[in-house]
Symmetry: D2
Subunit: 337 residues, 4 copies
Amino acid sequence: MKKIKVGIAGLGRLGKVHANNIAFKIPNAELTAACSIVPAELEYAQKELGVTDVYTDFREMLAKADIDAVAIVTTSSEHCWQIEAALDAGKHVFSDKPLGVNLEECKQAEAAVERHPDKIFFLGFMRRYDSSYAYAKQKIQEGAIGTPYMVKATGIDPEALVEGSIKFAATSGGIFIDMAVHDIDLMRWFLDDEPTEVYAIGSTFKHPEFKAVGDDETAVATYKFKNGGIGVIHVGRTAPHGYHVETEIVGTEGSIRISPVPEKNLAMLYNSNGVVTECVEGFPQRFAEAYLLEMQEFINCVCEGRKPGVTVYDGTKSTAIAFGTTEAWKSGKVVAL
Amino acid sequence: MKKIKVGIAGLGRLGKVHANNIAFKIPNAELTAACSIVPAELEYAQKELGVTDVYTDFREMLAKADIDAVAIVTTSSEHCWQIEAALDAGKHVFSDKPLGVNLEECKQAEAAVERHPDKIFFLGFMRRYDSSYAYAKQKIQEGAIGTPYMVKATGIDPEALVEGSIKFAATSGGIFIDMAVHDIDLMRWFLDDEPTEVYAIGSTFKHPEFKAVGDDETAVATYKFKNGGIGVIHVGRTAPHGYHVETEIVGTEGSIRISPVPEKNLAMLYNSNGVVTECVEGFPQRFAEAYLLEMQEFINCVCEGRKPGVTVYDGTKSTAIAFGTTEAWKSGKVVAL
Amino acid sequence: MKKIKVGIAGLGRLGKVHANNIAFKIPNAELTAACSIVPAELEYAQKELGVTDVYTDFREMLAKADIDAVAIVTTSSEHCWQIEAALDAGKHVFSDKPLGVNLEECKQAEAAVERHPDKIFFLGFMRRYDSSYAYAKQKIQEGAIGTPYMVKATGIDPEALVEGSIKFAATSGGIFIDMAVHDIDLMRWFLDDEPTEVYAIGSTFKHPEFKAVGDDETAVATYKFKNGGIGVIHVGRTAPHGYHVETEIVGTEGSIRISPVPEKNLAMLYNSNGVVTECVEGFPQRFAEAYLLEMQEFINCVCEGRKPGVTVYDGTKSTAIAFGTTEAWKSGKVVAL
Amino acid sequence: MKKIKVGIAGLGRLGKVHANNIAFKIPNAELTAACSIVPAELEYAQKELGVTDVYTDFREMLAKADIDAVAIVTTSSEHCWQIEAALDAGKHVFSDKPLGVNLEECKQAEAAVERHPDKIFFLGFMRRYDSSYAYAKQKIQEGAIGTPYMVKATGIDPEALVEGSIKFAATSGGIFIDMAVHDIDLMRWFLDDEPTEVYAIGSTFKHPEFKAVGDDETAVATYKFKNGGIGVIHVGRTAPHGYHVETEIVGTEGSIRISPVPEKNLAMLYNSNGVVTECVEGFPQRFAEAYLLEMQEFINCVCEGRKPGVTVYDGTKSTAIAFGTTEAWKSGKVVAL
């Protein structure tokens, strides 16, 4: 069995997840190099992952490491140039979402992908690979709900982790840039259509720190789609019960709803509170399997010379829609997309 | 519209429920007399129900009151002679369960019913009239689960009300006599068959007061049925979440499960405990509608001269099975029924 | 016990529900008169309800019947003048929602109510009296979810009944007037605040008949509230599983969700489809208890000289918001309320 | 990082699961040898797992292969002698359940384990490692349900796979030997106690083929425990909705129920059947993660020289209890354990 040699860039919380998956859980991959500007992360790569070929400079890794592919899990603002550099260096590229932090660099990334049609480019919209979401898509393709025409998506981070969001609020680009990109992608994917118009409002009732820097703690956006479909995205940061990601796809013959109760596992408690289901605590727990499945799919695409379902254009579009939504939210006006 | 005139005997907790239903919620009934040995209960009848014709003696009510029917909601040990006296006085009879406290008096009640084939006798197995149980029976009759061959029943009183059970433990006849009669009736009804053998065990971990008087706090009985079916009844007295009545009927093509989550209403709370459903607090709340529906059915049977689905023999059999189960539990042996 | 004498106007589907409740299920009420322009309805009143004092003219009933109160369950366009006439005739008034079909007549009804401060006026927003909604309100008042700041409401009629909606579409005033008034009222009630702005979009994928008359089959409205709260209403007419009314109230410390699974009863089926919960088929089934509870509350208010929680102003405001929402939906613009 | 070298014996359906986990998903393990009497299985090892060192004779693998540990996933009747041979050859041993097919060989396996206190012996009761079961155990240890005193376990194979069970029925040892061992282990584990007595009954309503060979299609066993606890096990082979494994642990302060709805994933369908949750299709799907987690724990125990929670005695006891249960079922009598 041929093993794809992968170098990872970025070993923060999510980087570690991807690195472990590549190193230990994907039969046809091996992690042969790692790059980070954080010394402790390289030490982690050496000690925990057994990767001895480590770099502090991304371009140096591209030039020297024995790698077929690169997994980019760096800060969002680094994604685009690293994608371009890696593709130009002849590597296959997995990049975590978002594609980029502005449309110009997204376009540059698109150009790089187009320049290298023989290379695999994979964008980390892992929810598409989650077994529940993939099942929903398959059921829809089988006609289980007729024509899907509406997506209602909710994504609320746990109150338990709100301090991190508060700290990051001033520089995150706002709640839609920060939180809605996955939901925007899902909405486009399930409806197989593009939004043409958005209206958005936000509110802050619990943590004035968000308002203080021009952000909001909760927000809702409503989208009109080209073919007449509707999207509603509700994002928030203060779920007391855990990490709440819920999605409903409504069609002419039925609907599919994913995780209205974001259960931690299959156990229910019957106690003096009533009947209680404890919930997942954060995205790494909720999407652990999806992160593995998407990386496995990336590696399989590389092995088989097959293009993945998610494209670079999905990245650009999601980013553009997130910006349009942000404009609607800030202006209070309906914005054409 | 002809209204059936009813006299009620017994105005305790459940008696009040029945009295209010007869007085105010059943179009073709009116409550015209009441009997109780408790002065406060007769005062209640006069003030709250507008019943002026009240008695302290059951036979006197039969002799003097302007009534077509009697609703007997007295202490269990009074049921049988009151049934007999009422039928012999030419009245239709509704009696709360159990039919009687020993088989001899059950047989006497049977004889009285047989003596008066033109009178309606109705036994208060209200669960059969609960909309969920009635729906289950109907689905089964429509073939939804093929041939039903197993019933798993759970009935657990709320810990919040355990003091009452403790007080009553020494004289209740034990946990199966006290608690299992409804489940025994349901088991026979859903399987349309009779048990031939029972094995039962009990345990007491929380309230030694039960053990101290020879009772148990939790118990399980397993029944073998004539046609090969199986019944399992789990009764208890210490549910921390509320009043837990759950029943599953297993058939060759499917099963039906009733209230695995004994929800108080349709609301769910998402809070720092997780996702929480609060539960019903007791049988009056859980079966409020069933008490009304069974009494309405009794009155309709009287109006239409129609025999109800539950018979006096169902009462005798449930009582006999409860006694057999008690013998199995006390002896630790398998008991033939 | 004093019984309030009630005359009912209108004996269509919902009128019959109210009439039966008044006649048979409310201890301190009696149905003494009925008015309808449909002969069969008056025949029903005589035969089924035992009401012999019947009228074809509303004003005549006011003038001649022996009634303390009137229950108005006529066509929406008749509500306001009948409210006014009844109050001016010295009767207490229960009126089904909506208050009126335009703001002018709502204002006239308001004036009539103000002219008769000693009379009870009760508007039929029965959802407030449904045990799950009332429980949610109580939990919120007890602080269970902190400060409520968002309401997400879904109301979808069953596909099984869509033919009726199609027939009525050209004259219904559009989907928001027709379907959203209850959700608008709930949103205002739970947030205890008024919306200031609305954006709305609709779509039609299954039944082009709606589009053909300028209506839509599904629609979403997003509301900004004065204090910063958010409301989202999703209405539709094609739920394949039954009658879907679901409401979520989000607060700073938790949320409450009502009937995400609009279960018909407490039974679940385990069969070759999976685990299946059958759903309620329509509003009369879902809100049967609420219709009784609201009427009981009206009668109690009359008996006790107590003003109900719902006011005539709630009626005007809901109507005004429904009109504003319709304008937003038709124009595609954000509309100030 | 030291990698434990593992040789696998048996590459049937479950053997393949374990082999893939060892080969690709456990960082500190590598699959270096394989043994099977089925040529296609060895070919699978070579082609799919990259294992070149293959054997048809178990003892030969022990003698020649470069392995630290052996994973035994052969036919049940081979387990005990292979365990003994492997331990005597100085290998750590993972054996799939059951420990053995009679008590004599279980005792021999015990002796072998005792002879080699420095070797890790791990018995594949994988349910203990499933995240929901492990969570339940942890919650119980934290006191969440007070003192656990009752276990109700249900394990029903899918009707879709019944043909396999029918074929195997004559030689399986009967439904309790075949299906109840996991539930017996869980019951002992959760109650931390041993059963002293069992009563059991079976029934066959759908597939007379079971009855024809002295087996049953469904069966229930009730256990009395030393400290007064109770166990109820319901096993079956004809669940129409999928693979149904459900367990409830009842304690003095609450209960925990695991997978009353054996959901396939987090999606729910709202369609003309109602609200539908599709279910897992079989044990490999339900316990995929548990198989990985238990093997990881085995390897970690080897690396750290740490004894696992499950012991060889758990294997003997579960087997003995399964035999006692079978005797109760066959004889119709209460059997002391």
